[in-house]
């Protein structure tokens, strides 16, 4: 960052006269308070090229509008300097669902307005009015009710129309027929000066159903494909060395086999290739699940999406764009995700049984009354009453109300569930397949012990470590910050490629260096006042792995490890935990394993974090990813759990099962109420007052029953 341009005080103006600005979004889990908002918005505003930064505290996101010249990595680095770990988030993944949810909320608001106003008149009519006032009130109700039905009913009418067009039926068909018939009948009653108008019933029905639909839409998170994010992982381009020895920048999709790339330290590779010059270490954890960075010397194959940690190297491209290993993973994910979309949700399964039954019932009562000698008008009134009474008011709320309450309770426990169907599938899981690196373990090397370091050494170590993006430095910095160490003022910090961080503190040279002799374990030497102290690192297991596995087992889930790491690394963990493990699995192997288990009738819960887990996460019956996972995995998974504990996985299964129990109870209540009310409707005893009482009564019952989940889930997690 150069400081030639002074920080722009009014950011909006600079956006106009510089290059066109683009928007980037970042997930920043550390935003907690007003101080954080101020710090980030002010701090990022001072970065040259940033037009504006806006924090969303509820979503823990920062939206930055900035010049194209500024890339996301730089902004993440700026956020880190401000003291916040940030991850790039996909470009407004919520946009599409947002529109849908907003439309439903507007329809709900209109229905609520109509319901309350019509009810004012209905109550007067029910408590007894003379015919003239009743007629007037019916007219006013019609005046409010018809526009409200037209506006708020659209989501149902549209969906019912779609279903009928393809000669199928869904829950929306009886709803639409019921609402339209009730409105039509009421209009006729009003014109004829009759006694009963059902405007309140029709609108109330819409209101309750829209409430259920809105809750469901709010649960639906972002699109789950994650493929765009996966391809975004790949370096966007590379410096290619021409025949005359000059370097020029080439976009990733224009790279061709045979070109020679110059890959700088810290850069992501843009294509698969073979190292031709230079020695370095490559971080392949995200791609393969290997925990230790791998050395790369001339002749070694390196893949797009991996990160060069050490020295600059020259790489001859062997496969580019669509032929890279990472593009293969994207294809696998695409295919795997399609099988998931065939899952039929519990509400739809219920509707398939319910809708034909309701129609038959209404039609039969219409015919029976005609045969019994009633007029067409009378028979139609009764058929309408049957449709209104059976209309799945409580059924529409039965599933979403329970799921929203459960998802809310889980969110407070650090687990984000993306949609209702995820909870349904989670409840069915009977096996759990765990990735090792980053899932069972924390996924980043942490110092085994810091006991041998004095306060001064610790402060210097933090001062050095926080300037580097090397995994060891980050692990060390994280551990030191966790112990409340304040960084020492280390000057002239520079990263000596391949050997470590060097700087000056109080006039003396200090350094974090690679051990001089090669060791099996990960380690760095801290050099302070001429003495070297060895700090060893290990990718430690999450603190509550054993308890979580026990909890899963208690719920009847068999666990196994599927890892892309080396056999020796996986074996140690597997023996320690007593789990069956498969090592050195490629992404396709994990997916194939899942398919074999599925073919045997098992419903597998996949928990993984790396890019290599992407296809498995997308293809598993249900999947969860830790918060530290790649954006790809977070998008492919059905849920994300944050923090260092693994327990949310077990809690999620427990709460999901409790949710399904409540959903079944809700169904039983809704159906039970129908069993009581339908005979009344068929016999012609249902007045608008009875319909209104029955409808709101059963809905309240269902919502009340669902609220019990909040307490149950809270108790469960303690």
């Amino acid at each position: 960052m150069n400081a030639i341009t002074p920080p722009p005080p009014v950011p909006v103006e600079t956006a106009l006269d510089t290059a066109p600005s683009i928007d980037s979004r970042f997930t920043v889990p550390g935003i907690r308070c007003a101080g954080c908002i101020g710090k980030i918005e002010r701090g990022l505003g001072l970065v040259p090229g940033v037009a504006s930064a806006r924090v969303n505290l509820s979503a823990k996101r920062v939206a930055v509008s900035h010049a194209e010249t500024l890339d996301a990595e730089t902004l993440i680095e700026e956020l880190r300097k401000l003291g916040f770990e940030a991850e790039r988030a996909a470009d407004n993944p919520l946009a599409r669902d947002d529109v849908e949810t907003k439309r439903l909320i507007r329809a709900l608001a209109v229905a609520g307005f109509g319901m309350m106003n019509i009810m004012l008149f209905s109550v007067s009519v029910w408590s007894g009015t003379d015919a003239v006032t009743r007629g007037m009130f019916h007219w006013i109700s019609a005046l409010i009710g018809i526009p409200v039905v037209v506006y708020s009913g659209r989501p149902f009418f549209a969906s019912a129309w779609m279903a009928l067009k393809y000669r199928r039926t869904n829950m929306d068909v009886p709803i639409s027929i019921g609402v339209i018939l009730a409105t039509g009948m009421s209009l006729y009653e009003t014109l004829a000066g009759g006694e009963h108008a059902y405007f309140d019933g029709a609108v109330m029905l819409l209101f309750f159903l829209l409430a259920g639909r809105t809750l469901d839409a709010m649960m639906r998170g972002r699109a789950r494909s994650g493929i765009a994010a996966l391809l975004g992982r790949m370096g966007r381009g590379a410096q290619v060395i021409g025949e005359d020895g000059t370097a020029r920048y080439v976009e990733a999709d224009k790279l061709r086999p045979g070109m020679t790339m110059l890959v700088a330290a810290g850069e992501a590779l843009a294509a698969d290739g073979e190292v031709v010059e230079g020695r370095t270490t490559i971080d392949t954890a995200m791609l393969t699940g290997e925990s230790a960075p791998r050395p790369a010397v001339p002749g070694d194959l390196v893949h797009a999406g991996t990160i060069n940690l050490g020295n600059p190297v020259r790489v001859r491209v062997t496969a580019a764009a669509q032929d890279t290993a990472i593009a293969d993973i994207a294809r696998l994910m695409d295919e795997a995700g399609q099988s998931r979309s065939r899952y039929v949700r519990v509400a739809d399964r219920a509707a398939r049984l319910y809708a034909p039954a309701v129609h038959t019932l209404a039609f039969l009562s219409f015919c029976s009354w005609l045969i019994a000698g009633a007029s067409v008008y009378k028979a139609l009134t009764i058929a309408t009453a049957v449709l209104i009474i059976t209309c799945p008011c409580a059924l529409g709320l039965a599933v979403p109300a329970a799921q929203v309450v459960a998802a809310g309770a889980l969110m407070r426990r650090g687990l984000l569930i993306k949609d209702g169907s995820a909870l349904e599938r989670l409840a069915e899981a009977d096996e759990v397949l765990l990735d090792k690196t980053g899932t069972l373990t924390l996924g980043e090397p942490r110092p085994v012990t810091l006991a041998m370091l004095g306060p001064r050494s610790r402060a210097i170590a933090l001062g050095l470590a926080q300037a580097s993006r090397h995994p060891l430095s980050r692990g060390l910095a994280h551990a030191l910050r966790g112990e409340g160490v304040e960084p020492a003022a280390v000057e002239l910090v520079r990263e000596a490629a391949g050997s470590g961080m060097i700087g000056r503190c109080d006039g003396a040279e200090v350094a974090l260096l690679r051990p001089e002799v090669e060791t099996d374990t990960l380690a760095v030497d801290l050099l302070v006042d001429g003495t070297r102290t060895r700090i060893t690192f290990a990718d430690s297991l999450r603190p509550d792995v054993t308890e979580t596995l026990a909890a899963l087992k208690a719920q009847g889930l068999t666990a196994a490890i599927a890892s892309g790491d080396r056999v020796e690394a996986v074996g140690g963990v597997a023996r320690k935990l007593g789990l069956f493990a498969t090592a050195a699995m490629r992404p396709a192997d994990k997916l194939a394993l899942l398919e074999r288990r599925a073919a045997l009738g098992h419903k597998v819960l996949m928990v993984g974090d790396g890019l290599n887990d992407g296809p498995a996460l997308a293809g598993a019956h249900v999947s969860l990813a830790p918060g530290g996972a790649s954006d790809v995995s977070q998008q492919a998974a059905d849920g994300v759990f944050v923090g260092e504990r693994l327990m949310p996985v077990a809690t999620a299964v427990k709460v999901a099962r409790a949710t399904m129990r409540v959903v079944r109870q809700n169904f039983a209540m809704a159906v039970g109420y129908n069993v009581l009310a339908v005979p009344l409707a068929i016999l012609g005893h249902v007045t608008p007052l009875v319909a209104a009482l029955a409808m709101s009564g059963s809905s309240l019952l269902v919502v009340g029953n669902s609220l019990r989940l909040a307490r149950a889930a809270g108790k469960e997690a303690q």
Binding site: C33, G35, I37, G38, S58, K102, R106, F113
Partner: protein
Amino acid sequence: MTILGFMIPLSLAMGLCALGTFFWTMRSGQYEDMDGAANRILIDEDAP
């Protein structure tokens, strides 16, 4: 009963006002970040 001719339109107008206000608040994104809005009041605005 003539009072109804006045009261009913009035109550409907008030209801419509509330509905309109709700639509406006939604369109202007006031429900996007509820926690943020609650916390922003605590930020000092002494910066230019």
